[in-house]
Symmetry: C2
Subunit: 202 residues, 2 copies
Protein backbone atom coordinates (compact mmCIF):
# COMPACT_ATOMS: atom_id res chain seq x y z
CA UNK A 1 0.00 0.00 0.00
CA UNK A 2 3.09 2.12 -0.25
CA UNK A 3 2.74 5.38 -2.13
CA UNK A 4 -0.81 6.26 -1.10
CA UNK A 5 -0.80 9.99 -0.41
CA UNK A 6 1.46 11.75 -2.92
CA UNK A 7 0.43 14.58 -5.21
CA UNK A 8 1.16 14.60 -8.93
CA UNK A 9 1.56 17.72 -11.03
CA UNK A 10 -1.06 18.42 -13.69
CA UNK A 11 -3.83 20.71 -14.92
CA UNK A 12 -7.12 21.65 -13.33
CA UNK A 13 -8.67 18.22 -13.80
CA UNK A 14 -5.64 16.57 -12.24
CA UNK A 15 -5.76 19.04 -9.35
CA UNK A 16 -9.45 18.29 -8.79
CA UNK A 17 -8.77 14.59 -8.82
CA UNK A 18 -5.87 14.99 -6.40
CA UNK A 19 -7.96 17.14 -4.05
CA UNK A 20 -10.78 14.59 -4.06
CA UNK A 21 -8.38 11.71 -3.65
CA UNK A 22 -6.56 13.30 -0.69
CA UNK A 23 -9.90 14.15 0.93
CA UNK A 24 -11.04 10.55 0.36
CA UNK A 25 -7.90 9.17 2.02
CA UNK A 26 -8.30 11.55 4.98
CA UNK A 27 -11.98 10.66 5.41
CA UNK A 28 -11.16 6.94 5.24
CA UNK A 29 -8.52 7.41 7.93
CA UNK A 30 -10.94 9.31 10.16
CA UNK A 31 -14.18 7.40 9.64
CA UNK A 32 -13.48 4.17 7.77
CA UNK A 33 -15.28 3.07 4.63
CA UNK A 34 -18.67 2.90 6.35
CA UNK A 35 -18.36 6.61 7.17
CA UNK A 36 -17.17 7.68 3.70
CA UNK A 37 -19.65 10.01 1.96
CA UNK A 38 -19.62 12.17 -1.15
CA UNK A 39 -20.79 15.14 0.96
CA UNK A 40 -17.87 14.94 3.40
CA UNK A 41 -15.31 14.45 0.62
CA UNK A 42 -16.74 17.43 -1.27
CA UNK A 43 -16.62 19.62 1.85
CA UNK A 44 -13.09 18.54 2.75
CA UNK A 45 -11.68 18.88 -0.78
CA UNK A 46 -13.38 22.16 -1.65
CA UNK A 47 -14.66 20.55 -4.87
CA UNK A 48 -18.35 21.16 -5.58
CA UNK A 49 -20.63 18.33 -4.45
CA UNK A 50 -22.30 17.98 -7.86
CA UNK A 51 -18.87 17.53 -9.49
CA UNK A 52 -17.94 14.79 -7.01
CA UNK A 53 -21.31 13.05 -7.52
CA UNK A 54 -21.00 13.27 -11.30
CA UNK A 55 -17.47 11.89 -11.53
CA UNK A 56 -17.21 9.51 -8.56
CA UNK A 57 -20.90 8.68 -7.91
CA UNK A 58 -20.56 7.21 -4.37
CA UNK A 59 -18.23 6.01 -1.63
CA UNK A 60 -17.23 2.92 -3.60
CA UNK A 61 -16.29 5.06 -6.60
CA UNK A 62 -14.20 7.36 -4.41
CA UNK A 63 -12.38 4.44 -2.78
CA UNK A 64 -11.76 2.73 -6.13
CA UNK A 65 -10.33 5.93 -7.62
CA UNK A 66 -8.02 6.41 -4.63
CA UNK A 67 -6.69 2.90 -5.25
CA UNK A 68 -6.37 3.52 -9.00
CA UNK A 69 -4.39 6.69 -8.28
CA UNK A 70 -2.13 4.86 -5.86
CA UNK A 71 -1.52 2.16 -8.47
CA UNK A 72 -0.18 4.81 -10.87
CA UNK A 73 2.40 6.08 -8.42
CA UNK A 74 6.00 4.90 -8.65
CA UNK A 75 6.93 2.28 -6.09
CA UNK A 76 10.54 1.80 -5.04
CA UNK A 77 11.27 -1.86 -5.71
CA UNK A 78 14.02 -2.98 -3.30
CA UNK A 79 17.30 -4.14 -4.82
CA UNK A 80 19.50 -5.29 -1.95
CA UNK A 81 21.48 -7.86 -3.94
CA UNK A 82 19.76 -10.93 -2.46
CA UNK A 83 16.23 -12.25 -2.74
CA UNK A 84 16.13 -12.59 1.03
CA UNK A 85 16.99 -8.93 1.52
CA UNK A 86 14.49 -7.85 -1.15
CA UNK A 87 11.60 -9.94 0.22
CA UNK A 88 12.36 -8.86 3.78
CA UNK A 89 12.13 -5.24 2.61
CA UNK A 90 8.79 -5.91 0.87
CA UNK A 91 7.32 -7.73 3.88
CA UNK A 92 8.52 -4.93 6.17
CA UNK A 93 6.79 -2.38 3.90
CA UNK A 94 3.51 -4.30 4.20
CA UNK A 95 3.66 -4.26 7.99
CA UNK A 96 4.81 -0.63 8.27
CA UNK A 97 2.21 0.46 5.70
CA UNK A 98 -0.64 -0.87 7.85
CA UNK A 99 0.92 0.05 11.21
CA UNK A 100 1.90 3.60 10.19
CA UNK A 101 -0.13 6.07 12.29
CA UNK A 102 -0.79 8.32 9.27
CA UNK A 103 -1.26 5.94 6.34
CA UNK A 104 -2.23 2.78 8.23
CA UNK A 105 -5.87 3.55 8.98
CA UNK A 106 -6.54 4.48 5.32
CA UNK A 107 -4.83 1.36 4.01
CA UNK A 108 -6.73 -0.86 6.45
CA UNK A 109 -10.04 0.80 5.58
CA UNK A 110 -9.46 0.22 1.85
CA UNK A 111 -8.55 -3.45 2.28
CA UNK A 112 -11.49 -4.02 4.65
CA UNK A 113 -13.90 -2.32 2.23
CA UNK A 114 -12.63 -4.46 -0.63
CA UNK A 115 -13.53 -7.67 1.20
CA UNK A 116 -17.26 -6.95 0.85
CA UNK A 117 -17.69 -4.05 -1.61
CA UNK A 118 -17.35 -5.26 -5.23
CA UNK A 119 -16.19 -1.98 -6.85
CA UNK A 120 -13.48 -1.51 -4.21
CA UNK A 121 -12.59 -5.21 -4.50
CA UNK A 122 -11.98 -4.84 -8.23
CA UNK A 123 -9.82 -1.76 -7.67
CA UNK A 124 -7.82 -3.46 -4.89
CA UNK A 125 -7.41 -6.55 -7.07
CA UNK A 126 -5.91 -4.31 -9.78
CA UNK A 127 -3.75 -2.38 -7.34
CA UNK A 128 -2.33 -5.48 -5.60
CA UNK A 129 -1.82 -7.45 -8.81
CA UNK A 130 0.19 -4.49 -10.12
CA UNK A 131 2.30 -4.33 -6.96
CA UNK A 132 2.72 -8.12 -6.81
CA UNK A 133 3.73 -8.15 -10.47
CA UNK A 134 6.48 -5.62 -9.72
CA UNK A 135 7.54 -7.57 -6.63
CA UNK A 136 7.88 -10.70 -8.76
CA UNK A 137 10.89 -9.05 -10.38
CA UNK A 138 12.97 -9.61 -7.24
CA UNK A 139 12.29 -13.35 -7.58
CA UNK A 140 13.01 -13.36 -11.30
CA UNK A 141 16.31 -11.58 -10.69
CA UNK A 142 17.17 -14.21 -8.07
CA UNK A 143 16.49 -17.00 -10.58
CA UNK A 144 18.74 -15.22 -13.10
CA UNK A 145 21.47 -14.89 -10.46
CA UNK A 146 21.19 -18.60 -9.66
CA UNK A 147 19.87 -17.99 -6.12
CA UNK A 148 16.60 -19.83 -6.78
CA UNK A 149 15.76 -22.81 -9.01
CA UNK A 150 14.84 -22.29 -12.65
CA UNK A 151 11.05 -22.60 -13.10
CA UNK A 152 10.22 -21.01 -9.73
CA UNK A 153 6.74 -19.44 -9.81
CA UNK A 154 7.54 -15.86 -8.76
CA UNK A 155 3.88 -15.07 -8.02
CA UNK A 156 3.65 -17.86 -5.45
CA UNK A 157 6.88 -16.75 -3.77
CA UNK A 158 5.78 -13.14 -3.26
CA UNK A 159 2.29 -14.18 -2.09
CA UNK A 160 3.91 -16.50 0.45
CA UNK A 161 6.15 -13.66 1.65
CA UNK A 162 3.17 -11.43 2.52
CA UNK A 163 0.14 -13.77 2.81
CA UNK A 164 0.53 -14.75 6.47
CA UNK A 165 0.87 -11.04 7.40
CA UNK A 166 -2.45 -10.13 5.73
CA UNK A 167 -3.97 -13.25 7.30
CA UNK A 168 -3.09 -11.99 10.79
CA UNK A 169 -4.05 -8.39 10.07
CA UNK A 170 -7.42 -8.95 8.42
CA UNK A 171 -8.63 -12.50 9.15
CA UNK A 172 -7.50 -13.61 12.60
CA UNK A 173 -7.10 -9.98 13.79
CA UNK A 174 -3.77 -10.52 15.50
CA UNK A 175 -0.95 -7.99 15.82
CA UNK A 176 1.98 -8.18 13.40
CA UNK A 177 5.52 -7.01 14.00
CA UNK A 178 8.87 -6.68 12.26
CA UNK A 179 9.99 -10.14 13.39
CA UNK A 180 6.98 -11.80 11.77
CA UNK A 181 7.59 -9.83 8.59
CA UNK A 182 11.20 -11.04 8.48
CA UNK A 183 10.19 -14.66 9.11
CA UNK A 184 7.42 -14.50 6.48
CA UNK A 185 10.00 -13.37 3.91
CA UNK A 186 12.53 -15.95 5.08
CA UNK A 187 9.89 -18.69 4.86
CA UNK A 188 9.18 -17.80 1.24
CA UNK A 189 12.92 -17.86 0.43
CA UNK A 190 13.54 -21.18 2.23
CA UNK A 191 10.59 -22.81 0.45
CA UNK A 192 11.66 -21.40 -2.91
CA UNK A 193 15.23 -22.67 -2.40
CA UNK A 194 13.82 -26.11 -1.56
CA UNK A 195 12.01 -26.10 -4.92
CA UNK A 196 8.47 -25.95 -3.52
CA UNK A 197 7.40 -23.30 -6.05
CA UNK A 198 8.93 -24.90 -9.16
CA UNK A 199 5.81 -25.27 -11.29
CA UNK A 200 7.35 -25.38 -14.75
CA UNK A 201 10.38 -26.95 -16.35
CA UNK A 202 13.09 -24.42 -17.20
CA UNK B 1 -14.23 -23.54 8.78
CA UNK B 2 -14.79 -27.27 8.92
CA UNK B 3 -17.69 -28.49 11.03
CA UNK B 4 -20.14 -25.63 10.35
CA UNK B 5 -23.54 -27.22 9.90
CA UNK B 6 -23.94 -30.16 12.29
CA UNK B 7 -26.72 -30.58 14.86
CA UNK B 8 -26.07 -31.48 18.49
CA UNK B 9 -28.53 -33.30 20.73
CA UNK B 10 -30.00 -31.38 23.67
CA UNK B 11 -33.10 -29.95 25.31
CA UNK B 12 -35.52 -27.32 24.12
CA UNK B 13 -33.04 -24.46 24.52
CA UNK B 14 -30.42 -26.38 22.57
CA UNK B 15 -32.97 -27.16 19.86
CA UNK B 16 -33.92 -23.49 19.61
CA UNK B 17 -30.29 -22.51 19.35
CA UNK B 18 -29.65 -25.15 16.69
CA UNK B 19 -32.70 -24.06 14.69
CA UNK B 20 -31.60 -20.41 14.80
CA UNK B 21 -28.03 -21.32 13.97
CA UNK B 22 -28.98 -23.46 10.97
CA UNK B 23 -31.31 -20.71 9.74
CA UNK B 24 -28.49 -18.17 10.18
CA UNK B 25 -26.10 -20.31 8.15
CA UNK B 26 -28.69 -20.79 5.41
CA UNK B 27 -29.49 -17.07 5.27
CA UNK B 28 -25.78 -16.23 5.12
CA UNK B 29 -25.34 -18.64 2.23
CA UNK B 30 -28.30 -17.15 0.38
CA UNK B 31 -27.91 -13.43 1.07
CA UNK B 32 -24.53 -12.78 2.67
CA UNK B 33 -23.99 -10.87 5.90
CA UNK B 34 -25.46 -7.65 4.51
CA UNK B 35 -28.73 -9.49 3.88
CA UNK B 36 -28.86 -11.22 7.28
CA UNK B 37 -31.85 -10.08 9.40
CA UNK B 38 -33.47 -11.23 12.63
CA UNK B 39 -36.85 -11.34 10.84
CA UNK B 40 -35.66 -13.73 8.12
CA UNK B 41 -33.87 -16.00 10.60
CA UNK B 42 -36.98 -16.11 12.81
CA UNK B 43 -39.19 -16.98 9.84
CA UNK B 44 -36.80 -19.63 8.54
CA UNK B 45 -36.16 -21.26 11.93
CA UNK B 46 -39.76 -21.19 13.17
CA UNK B 47 -38.53 -19.53 16.38
CA UNK B 48 -40.59 -16.51 17.49
CA UNK B 49 -39.14 -13.18 16.41
CA UNK B 50 -39.19 -11.72 19.93
CA UNK B 51 -37.15 -14.72 21.18
CA UNK B 52 -34.55 -14.22 18.46
CA UNK B 53 -34.36 -10.46 19.18
CA UNK B 54 -34.02 -11.05 22.92
CA UNK B 55 -31.28 -13.68 22.72
CA UNK B 56 -29.32 -12.70 19.58
CA UNK B 57 -30.21 -8.98 19.25
CA UNK B 58 -29.11 -8.46 15.63
CA UNK B 59 -27.30 -9.86 12.59
CA UNK B 60 -23.89 -9.55 14.26
CA UNK B 61 -25.13 -11.50 17.28
CA UNK B 62 -26.53 -14.24 15.04
CA UNK B 63 -23.28 -14.53 13.06
CA UNK B 64 -21.16 -14.55 16.22
CA UNK B 65 -23.28 -17.31 17.76
CA UNK B 66 -23.04 -19.41 14.61
CA UNK B 67 -19.25 -19.14 14.87
CA UNK B 68 -19.30 -19.93 18.60
CA UNK B 69 -21.41 -23.03 17.89
CA UNK B 70 -19.03 -24.13 15.15
CA UNK B 71 -16.08 -23.66 17.51
CA UNK B 72 -17.65 -26.16 19.94
CA UNK B 73 -17.95 -28.89 17.34
CA UNK B 74 -15.31 -31.63 17.15
CA UNK B 75 -12.82 -31.19 14.36
CA UNK B 76 -10.95 -34.17 12.92
CA UNK B 77 -7.27 -33.27 13.29
CA UNK B 78 -5.33 -35.12 10.59
CA UNK B 79 -2.73 -37.66 11.71
CA UNK B 80 -1.04 -38.95 8.57
CA UNK B 81 2.31 -39.74 10.19
CA UNK B 82 4.20 -36.79 8.69
CA UNK B 83 3.91 -33.05 9.25
CA UNK B 84 3.81 -32.58 5.48
CA UNK B 85 0.83 -34.92 5.15
CA UNK B 86 -0.95 -33.30 8.09
CA UNK B 87 -0.43 -29.71 6.89
CA UNK B 88 -1.41 -30.66 3.34
CA UNK B 89 -4.66 -32.07 4.75
CA UNK B 90 -5.31 -28.89 6.76
CA UNK B 91 -4.59 -26.59 3.79
CA UNK B 92 -6.82 -28.75 1.58
CA UNK B 93 -9.63 -28.44 4.15
CA UNK B 94 -9.32 -24.63 4.05
CA UNK B 95 -9.67 -24.57 0.27
CA UNK B 96 -12.46 -27.15 0.12
CA UNK B 97 -14.29 -25.43 2.99
CA UNK B 98 -14.52 -22.19 1.04
CA UNK B 99 -15.01 -23.77 -2.38
CA UNK B 100 -17.68 -26.27 -1.25
CA UNK B 101 -20.97 -25.38 -3.01
CA UNK B 102 -22.99 -25.93 0.21
CA UNK B 103 -20.78 -24.64 3.03
CA UNK B 104 -18.51 -22.31 1.05
CA UNK B 105 -20.84 -19.30 0.71
CA UNK B 106 -21.61 -19.32 4.45
CA UNK B 107 -17.95 -19.58 5.40
CA UNK B 108 -17.00 -16.76 3.01
CA UNK B 109 -19.83 -14.56 4.31
CA UNK B 110 -18.70 -15.05 7.92
CA UNK B 111 -15.05 -14.25 7.17
CA UNK B 112 -16.03 -11.21 5.08
CA UNK B 113 -18.35 -9.92 7.81
CA UNK B 114 -15.60 -10.33 10.40
CA UNK B 115 -13.29 -8.02 8.46
CA UNK B 116 -15.49 -5.00 9.22
CA UNK B 117 -18.04 -5.98 11.88
CA UNK B 118 -16.45 -6.01 15.39
CA UNK B 119 -18.74 -8.58 17.08
CA UNK B 120 -18.27 -11.04 14.23
CA UNK B 121 -14.53 -10.26 14.20
CA UNK B 122 -14.24 -11.21 17.86
CA UNK B 123 -16.15 -14.45 17.29
CA UNK B 124 -14.05 -15.34 14.22
CA UNK B 125 -10.88 -14.53 16.16
CA UNK B 126 -11.99 -17.00 18.86
CA UNK B 127 -13.04 -19.62 16.33
CA UNK B 128 -9.83 -19.45 14.28
CA UNK B 129 -7.52 -19.28 17.29
CA UNK B 130 -9.20 -22.43 18.59
CA UNK B 131 -8.76 -24.21 15.26
CA UNK B 132 -5.18 -22.94 14.84
CA UNK B 133 -4.37 -24.06 18.38
CA UNK B 134 -5.55 -27.57 17.51
CA UNK B 135 -3.64 -27.50 14.23
CA UNK B 136 -0.47 -26.58 16.11
CA UNK B 137 -0.53 -30.10 17.54
CA UNK B 138 0.57 -31.53 14.18
CA UNK B 139 3.67 -29.32 14.37
CA UNK B 140 4.35 -30.19 18.00
CA UNK B 141 4.09 -33.90 17.18
CA UNK B 142 6.58 -33.37 14.33
CA UNK B 143 9.04 -31.71 16.72
CA UNK B 144 8.65 -34.65 19.12
CA UNK B 145 9.26 -37.10 16.25
CA UNK B 146 12.40 -35.18 15.26
CA UNK B 147 10.94 -34.06 11.91
CA UNK B 148 11.27 -30.35 12.77
CA UNK B 149 13.81 -28.44 14.88
CA UNK B 150 13.29 -28.06 18.63
CA UNK B 151 12.02 -24.54 19.42
CA UNK B 152 9.89 -24.29 16.24
CA UNK B 153 7.00 -21.83 16.74
CA UNK B 154 4.02 -24.03 15.84
CA UNK B 155 1.69 -21.04 15.49
CA UNK B 156 3.85 -19.48 12.80
CA UNK B 157 4.06 -22.76 10.89
CA UNK B 158 0.31 -23.30 10.71
CA UNK B 159 -0.36 -19.63 9.82
CA UNK B 160 2.17 -19.94 7.00
CA UNK B 161 0.46 -23.11 5.77
CA UNK B 162 -2.89 -21.34 5.32
CA UNK B 163 -2.12 -17.59 5.17
CA UNK B 164 -1.42 -17.30 1.45
CA UNK B 165 -4.70 -19.15 0.71
CA UNK B 166 -6.77 -16.68 2.75
CA UNK B 167 -4.77 -13.84 1.13
CA UNK B 168 -5.85 -14.98 -2.33
CA UNK B 169 -9.44 -15.72 -1.32
CA UNK B 170 -10.22 -12.52 0.62
CA UNK B 171 -7.61 -9.87 -0.20
CA UNK B 172 -6.45 -10.19 -3.83
CA UNK B 173 -9.66 -12.04 -4.82
CA UNK B 174 -7.90 -14.73 -6.86
CA UNK B 175 -9.01 -18.33 -7.30
CA UNK B 176 -7.36 -21.04 -5.18
CA UNK B 177 -6.97 -24.69 -6.05
CA UNK B 178 -5.67 -27.95 -4.61
CA UNK B 179 -2.18 -27.39 -6.06
CA UNK B 180 -1.82 -24.06 -4.27
CA UNK B 181 -3.04 -25.65 -1.03
CA UNK B 182 -0.41 -28.36 -1.36
CA UNK B 183 2.37 -25.85 -2.10
CA UNK B 184 1.29 -23.60 0.79
CA UNK B 185 1.63 -26.56 3.16
CA UNK B 186 4.91 -27.66 1.60
CA UNK B 187 6.28 -24.11 1.91
CA UNK B 188 5.51 -24.07 5.63
CA UNK B 189 7.23 -27.46 6.06
CA UNK B 190 10.32 -26.48 4.03
CA UNK B 191 10.69 -23.22 5.97
CA UNK B 192 10.20 -25.00 9.30
CA UNK B 193 12.80 -27.62 8.38
CA UNK B 194 15.23 -24.82 7.47
CA UNK B 195 14.77 -23.40 10.98
CA UNK B 196 12.99 -20.18 9.93
CA UNK B 197 10.40 -20.53 12.72
CA UNK B 198 12.78 -21.40 15.56
CA UNK B 199 11.99 -18.56 17.93
CA UNK B 200 13.06 -20.06 21.24
CA UNK B 201 15.96 -22.19 22.44
CA UNK B 202 14.95 -25.80 23.18
Amino acid sequence: MSGVGGVRPGGRTARTRDAVRLATLAELADKGFDGLTVEAVAARSGVHKTTVYRRWRNAAGLAADALDSAAEEPWPLPDTGTVQGDLRAIAAMVVSGFEDPDRGPTARALVAAAVYEPTTAEALHGFLLGRLGQAEQVVERAVTRGELPVGTDAGEVVRTAVGSLYYRLFITHEPVDAGQARRAADAAVAAARAGVFVTEQG
